[in-house]
Symmetry: C2
Subunit: 471 residues, 2 copies
Amino acid sequence: MEKEAFNLEILEKLIHEKNVIALRELFESIALIDIADVANHIDDPSELLFIFKTVKSEYTAEFFSYLAPEVQEKLVRLFTDKDLMTLIASSYTDDIADFLIDMPSNLVERVLNVTDKQTREVVNLLLNYKVNTAGSIMTTEYVTLNSVMTVEEALNAIRKIGREAETVYTNFVIDDQRNLVGTVALDDLIFSEPNQRLTEIMATDFTAVEVTTDQEEVARDFKRYNLNAMPVLNEDHRLVGIVTVDDVIDVIEQQVSEDMAKMAAVSPLEDSYIKSSVWTLAKKCIPWLIILLVLGIGASIVLNVFENSLAVLPILAAFIPILMDGGGNAGNQTTVLVTRSLALNEITPKDFLKVIWKEMRISLIVSAFVGLFAFGWVLFEFGSGILEYDALAGLSVWSWFAQASIVAALVAFTLAGAIILSKTIGAVLPLAAKAVGLDPAVVASPLLTTIVDVCALLLYFFLSASVFNLL
Amino acid sequence: MEKEAFNLEILEKLIHEKNVIALRELFESIALIDIADVANHIDDPSELLFIFKTVKSEYTAEFFSYLAPEVQEKLVRLFTDKDLMTLIASSYTDDIADFLIDMPSNLVERVLNVTDKQTREVVNLLLNYKVNTAGSIMTTEYVTLNSVMTVEEALNAIRKIGREAETVYTNFVIDDQRNLVGTVALDDLIFSEPNQRLTEIMATDFTAVEVTTDQEEVARDFKRYNLNAMPVLNEDHRLVGIVTVDDVIDVIEQQVSEDMAKMAAVSPLEDSYIKSSVWTLAKKCIPWLIILLVLGIGASIVLNVFENSLAVLPILAAFIPILMDGGGNAGNQTTVLVTRSLALNEITPKDFLKVIWKEMRISLIVSAFVGLFAFGWVLFEFGSGILEYDALAGLSVWSWFAQASIVAALVAFTLAGAIILSKTIGAVLPLAAKAVGLDPAVVASPLLTTIVDVCALLLYFFLSASVFNLL
């Protein structure tokens, strides 16, 4: 069947008609994730039971792993112990652990009860690794080969045990003490002579991580070395699991979502936006808004102190928003670029001077262009009457223009100053945060706005006070 | 050699001593990208020539692809035509195309001159595909198998032609008209009987893209279907190339960097931050700052119109920053979460009502908490004397407190209103942008701040005018 022609109606029809042959054909011809997407929308999950009774378990186990947690939960409640046992036996241990993490404890117990002892130990182990470590994303189904094997023996071993493994593209060569001594790719086995020894063809420059290694570091090494699978070692440097490339793509996506959330002043979500509850999302948003509100005290104090300037020259207030926003935006541009560059390991805190020097030059160019434009723009706002500017009393028409130009210049200079300052601070903050071991994404954005607001307003009022005292 | 023990000094020493054996051993034991990283820091690239003359070209071709463009350029100028020919012959066509894109045209010509006709045609083709399409990231080195082959014949074919291919883990089964009829994974070949036909074991539910398909769509399918390699078809639905998973990780990273830059009001960079020149970066920053400056006219007009309120009650000015920042931050939280969710395909514009309804409830909760806190916080600022509040003339002490409470309530209500408004708008904007085919990341952030600023200020002054008229 073509993917485009498949929909919920067809799935329900096949189930209602108990059309075993067409259902089996469906699971062979359409990607399981696409079927699961449709099946998630079925009203009564008990209808899905028919699928698990008729379609081969090698398909249903993977299909089950793509179902939504609430559908999975309902199904497990409906499964007999025998159904459950079949499902578990055909699933990868990391998929079982992933699915159990979201389940209520009585269901977890029931699932573990029907799981054979060996698998249960592995699943328990996986469930106990700290979130976001290599241990928590690794799988334990991989192929180990002994270093004394020949290529032919290795291929035979892979044919025998490889079907259970999550990948056979990278295989792991161990010595008698289970020490990892090399990796051998399936294509290298294919390209070699049957009687060659593994020690001759295996790669010894493999990259390995420990179970406690942060998953982001794992992802970095994967990208850097273009890996298919990476060995995970325990404290004794024995091989205990592997991480495969599909897990790593998930890690990259998750890490990016977290970074974006942090930069937007949201605490990282444990789940996707759409799966998180209203309460959870509110809880992630509130703390930062309150912190930023408290930090806003600086700008409030400045405006409070310079109340008189505003009373004498109320037009000054009209430009507070563009000065604050302009400074904040300019700084944010730099912060986001630098934070992202740090995340991609393109720069490190050692590049401090290089980056600052770069941003100082950038900010000079940017502030010159934007400042010049602001001067013209403010004059236009006055000249066109969009903004009303009543000159100080007793002046001629020429003086009105002169005063308006002075206000425009004041705005332009302050904006230019705020841009230079905020871009420099915007580069310093993430680098400094990273250097002292803090998260650049968390520290940089809130502090930046706060500092830039205060500085821009101070500059604005000091400049205006000194200029208008002279008038 | 251990990776940790290797550094620039050692590399230079080996080259100066012309230690051929140690150099060859180095290229076999250390990842080529790590050697290239060190080699990029060598002062005189001509020293690297010795490497290309002594180390096997199967290593040097990949090593070359990891070198920085400026080092590559210098080396190509130093290479004899024979050196170049060896290098090109051992390189993948997509790597050659990637490297030529950054080179001056006279060098491109020289490289193409020493390239054999067949490779040259392919490279030219790759160079001509539009940036960011499947065509521009695909490679043409892959294994095609004929559908009439048996497993044994297929494995023999792979042994014969597979070394030149970028991957043999996914192989492509074509009929006599070069129509793609299926894919067959290397492990499926290993697990099957030698005399089985490919048509029995090949997968027919493969996902393919066209040369003009956007690379982000390619990346989405890769993630969704956990692929190793994906076939690329031309307009006649004939197989012309494949995309491999390592290219896709690059696409994901690039896409994320672009999205982050757009959300921070920077036009997307063609290159990494560190490789982009000061001028380029300035040019990417200036337009958005000017657009935002122009859009800031709304807030300026509001403040200009309500000048008198500020003159009568100057304390109002002190809270402009927290109202603007608070509204902007709250809206930005929503915009970033929704934009990211759209990018990950977790939601589509069809979920419009669902998302709006969700954000309205979230914003009610958030605004209640933050508003309540703001009320207490402003009272504290007044009570502690951090902010000075001079009550309107002729009132008792109790009335001072009453008036301060009214100001605090005013700030709290405005902030709460701004949060509700900005979170709702923050959800509407990216969804609406996506629905009409615009880029959510570009549209949402700048418009959001502008609209929220104006709304928050209007609400603030209308509320304060009506409240203080009553006093």
